[in-house]
Symmetry: C2
Subunit: 334 residues, 2 copies
Amino acid sequence: MQRVTMMDVAKLAQVSPSTVSLYLRKPAAVSPAAGQEIARAIAALGYVPNLVAGGLAAASSKVVSVIVPSIRNAFFAETVSSLQSALVAEGFQVLLGHSEYGEEQEEALVRTALSWAPAAVVLTGLSHSAGTRKLLQASGVPVVEMWELGADPIDMAVGFSHPQVGATAARHLLSKGRRTLAFLGARMQEDHRAAKRASGFVEEARQGEPRTCEIINHPGAATVEAGSLLLNRALQQIPDLDGIACSNDLIALGALFECQRRGIAVPESIAILGFGDLDFSASCIPSLTTIRPSGDLIGREAARLILSSIHGEPPDGSARIVDTGHVLVERRST
Amino acid sequence: MQRVTMMDVAKLAQVSPSTVSLYLRKPAAVSPAAGQEIARAIAALGYVPNLVAGGLAAASSKVVSVIVPSIRNAFFAETVSSLQSALVAEGFQVLLGHSEYGEEQEEALVRTALSWAPAAVVLTGLSHSAGTRKLLQASGVPVVEMWELGADPIDMAVGFSHPQVGATAARHLLSKGRRTLAFLGARMQEDHRAAKRASGFVEEARQGEPRTCEIINHPGAATVEAGSLLLNRALQQIPDLDGIACSNDLIALGALFECQRRGIAVPESIAILGFGDLDFSASCIPSLTTIRPSGDLIGREAARLILSSIHGEPPDGSARIVDTGHVLVERRST
DNA sequence: TGAGTCTATCATAGCGCTACGATCCAGGTT
DNA sequence: AACCTGGATCGTAGCGCTATGATAGACTCA
């Protein structure tokens, strides 16, 4: 038993391999008669094209390599999902990697990714090791950095400003009359984007002359449980706390649960503001005021940048950077 | 500017390309002196091996293709994440696809997946189109079906029995004295595994002579909001409802929120049991009794099966099927 | 000392496909 | 009748690497 090759199809259809290849890539360029013969032969033999060989011959494979910190994170799962849908529709495959928020791990992933001669590489965030930047620049492959906007992207970028998200959060809490504030975040040594939201929050809050404004970090992952722990720590440090912003809706939900457990009224005693607008945020009690980043849109825009970059019309100038913005979704928790 | 090839490395290191290739695959087989020269040359040139060429020459690429219904689903995100970690450690990459619960879409994905001459293919569940089965069997590639166990897997399988999960849920509710039961699920036309949990639930519940036992389905995705809707529909149909099992913790959480909203005591008036043991399930109020399937373990075991299948010791007989079981996690909601 | 046995290295022949330029052959033009 | 045109088809030369013996040299042992 042998693998069926294009040659076999060509023989059966009584044409040359070149014609089969042409038919597969541009069916319109082949006469209807030959096309039918070829289609018949493909079906009869159960031919599956070998994209590895094709990729080698064409010097670029129909693969887009996507590297995210973690796919367990609902944000990135959403983005990867929409990015993938858009790319698959154009005949591309997604090679996935997760860096676990480590720059060296990311560099290793980029290295392997480039080994596949991908059509494009998608990275998360703007913080990368020098080696990563060098590898990518040397490769000449289109690169999209997503989920963050700022100075000096490697190639293209689609996302939003995290400091601005923090600022929006601070303004909202201040507008609700809150003056004793905290920002609850997780893993902020590694998750630079969360850290930027935190510092944007503090900076903006300062304008409103708060009584206090602390950043409280949980070293572990951003989970509901972490949210409960963080709220307890916050209350220990700031007994008269009246407003919190969280780096993630999961943390906000944990804080909310902890308030319920301790009999603290939300939003009357403490206002809670999240980030992400996850699945449960509209449904919980009270429903969660949050900031929606639209991971879905980021994925779609990233796909658009990649496709136009490949199809010969590389976006230039400011078109290489897409700001997807953020939206404050006001609900009952503030 | 040219792409750096193995030939360039060989020239600089003053050895033949074969030796470089050998060094890259089995460093121990090359003398330390030559090895050092080669390593130096690789670093100096910034050489990145071309795995596409390698895959073609070796007739199998270091890629494992994984197809899940959706990565937005926390279950599969967890599995993919652990599967990937295990595979990356052995030098494999993961090519991801999502079928959106469609068999034709899955077949199309399998077809493209096979075009990459993958080292293995991982599928979700046991329900596939005839075409999918034929393609995979003809290809001779190792196949793992995950998240479900039952008769006649294509090649290997790792997962658990969904009817048994349903039965466990039913027994637990019965043991708590509940007799007016409902199973709340979403998308059960397409999500066969959820449907099997439902029917396992009903079948086992019948043994306990319940007053009622209904299956209620939401056609859309399994979300917290769907849970709220489902609880309302259940109460409409069964006003004296006293126990529900949900096909997913998100639905259970939605049901829980809706109970709170309507002032129904949980578990006193209605006991709620979930599935998945998601992030929030231990933290919500009351904490959620649930059944934990261990998506993490499934991913690790799938990786193990794949690796041993590739490394020449294909597991045989019953070792080709791994039952990861399920665990009832009893908390406050029942 | 010569045969036998390693170990380290190498030359060669593809893997299956695509890109490119060449070729063929109707049908029209002068 | 000679010439051109352009669409359809084909032949060839790699893409960059790995697998497979083959070879050279160092070492052992009778």
